[in-house]
Amino acid sequence: MAELSAQASHAAANSRTRTMPEGLFGWLLVGPAMLFIAVIVAWPLAETIRLSFMDAGLGGEKYVGLANYEDLADSRKFHQTVVRTFYWMFLSVGIKLVLGLIGATLLNAAVPGRALFRVLVMPPWVIPMAIGCIGWLWLYNGYFGVLSGVLMKLGITDGPFEFLAYKSSAFYSAVVTDVWVGTPMVTLFFLAAMQGVSRDLYEAAWVDGAGRWYRFRRITIPQIMPVIVSMALLSAIFTFNSFEIIWILTEGGPRSATTTLIIDTYKVAIGNYKFGEGAARAVIIVILLAAFSLIYLFFLNKINKRYGAK
């Protein structure tokens, strides 16, 4: 400590930041990041909002007020897309959280070889999503994918089965791939959280005769609940906007079975060059996500109170 203060005194001689008000220092630190974001993201964002009020295409733009939004409100197809997107999100995130908990528990278990297993869990997270999806494309193919081959060998189907060619199977296949992409990260964060739980708590319960399942339910889950909750929100946002996975697998088909809001937006804006209509959809995505987050955080507050805050 003495050494530290000696150095500190030296440093104090040439430091203006010591006497700088806290607020100003705060902005000094945050400023660069904000500026960067403002230039790279804020302007395109503002532009997108502006475009949503236009009928904009390759040939120019024309102000139309709320017309784009009205069209969306009237479109039954759009309502279906919204519902489908939320279903997609809840299903995929739900599975990811459950699998993440199971995986983290398994990896937390004191069995030999667990270091190796932990490393083996990481690849889907580490590799570029595009590459992983290409692997899944191969798996889902009816003619040369192993999944279809297994189905045939087991006698469940009597010919090749194209997973991505039928409406339900395409949707659930996309969910499986999305879960595959997201589970490792969730698992690892849960694992870290579990390892942070104090051993004393477990010992105390064990001494009192509590079994594994009890310890899991009454100690582990409550202790890592904050992490579960924050991962859930982060995962929900990413899953809602999950684009590459669906695009590479099905491009939203067949017959819109896998078209979520982000796919629809991309198709309209980049595929059909209807920038105004695409922009309106993009704005709606943001509004929906923001609303969802607010509702979620509201319940989060309640949960924090129930399980006891930090």
Binding site: E22, T48, P128
Partner: protein, 285 residues
């Protein structure tokens, strides 16, 4: 000490159960890689063999040799991927560290609103903002260069970085900072010499997470903002295996696997620190 070890002892049956569950879990995780590997071994003419055959006499590693010929820039693409991801990570962390510290420790006007705005940026994907973003990059003269892929990457990763690092920095005991302050240290000094060394586990974790994020999202930015072949990262480069006549799937799979190998190796080295970092962080929000 002896007694509590008993708590971790599993019965034989439980051990078997755990290993079985792990096997199923890992099979799910690793299946696509296995399949990609199998595909890379098949000769092109028999690529579409059905019904599915597990093994065949004409499997070989030929594709691994051929792929360097079919796509001569393959090595360059792998390098590009790593270079871009590393650059993104370095630059992002440069912006993130001070900002995360500010959100963790300091009070300043509009603090909560700006934090919310950063989270809001997470809610977009680049996919939505592509065309206006293209125009911004074009105006700045950054298209068709490495910057074209680095700049959007940084912009979309800064918010995540701030969010993740903030929770780690909050855990560092305030007393240490206050002591330094009392001894006459400036704020910057405190940040650099006191806080950062203690935050190393968190820094590592967040850097790795940012690197992975950068590595994973290269694809979209690369295909939209960059036309120059020599600068393309691996996922975009893989599309060169798609020719007019057909897709040389086996070589594409081989290239994909080889391409991610360097990152996997780096990861292997870092995983010890990563788990330690995650633990030390003990992410209790």
């Amino acid at each position: 000490m002896g007694r509590s070890d008993m708590m971790d002892r599993y019965s034989k049956l439980q051990m078997v159960g755990i290993y079985a569950a792990l096997a199923v879990f890992l099979t799910f995780i690793l299946l696509p890689f296995f399949e990609m590997f199998m595909a890379s071994l098949r000769p092109l003419e028999h690529l579409f063999r059905s019904p599915y055959q597990f093994w065949s006499d004409d499997f070989s590693f030929q594709a691994y040799k051929d792929m360097w010929v079919t796509v001569p820039l393959l090595g360059r693409y792998i390098f590009n991927s790593i270079f871009i991801a590393s650059s993104v990570t370095l630059i992002t962390m440069f912006f993130v560290v001070p900002a995360a510290y500010a959100y963790a420790r300091l009070q300043f006007p509009f603090k909560n609103i700006t934090l919310g705005i950063f989270l809001g940026v997470n809610m977009f994907t680049g996919a939505v903002l592509l065309i206006p973003l293209y125009r911004v990059l074009r105006t700045m003269g950054l298209l068709n260069s490495y910057w074209a892929m680095i700049v959007p990457g940084v912009a979309f990763l800064i918010p995540t970085g701030i969010w993740l690092l903030r929770s780690y920095l909050e855990k560092i005991p305030r007393e240490l900072e206050e002591a330094a302050f009392v001894d006459g240290a400036s704020r910057m000094y405190t940040l650099r010499r006191v806080v950062l060394p203690l935050a190393v586990p968190g820094l590592i974790v967040v850097s790795v997470a940012v690197f992975i994020g950068a590595y994973a999202q290269q694809f979209l930015f690369a295909i939209t903002f960059n036309q120059t072949r020599e600068l393309q990262p691996l996922p975009a480069g893989l599309f060169e295996f798609i020719g007019y006549q057909s897709v040389t799937w086996n070589e594409m799979m081989a290239a994909a696997l080889v391409g991610v190998l360097p990152v996997m190796l780096i990861f292997l080295f870092l995983q010890k620190y990563l788990v330690a970092g995650l633990t030390a962080g003990a992410v209790k929000e």
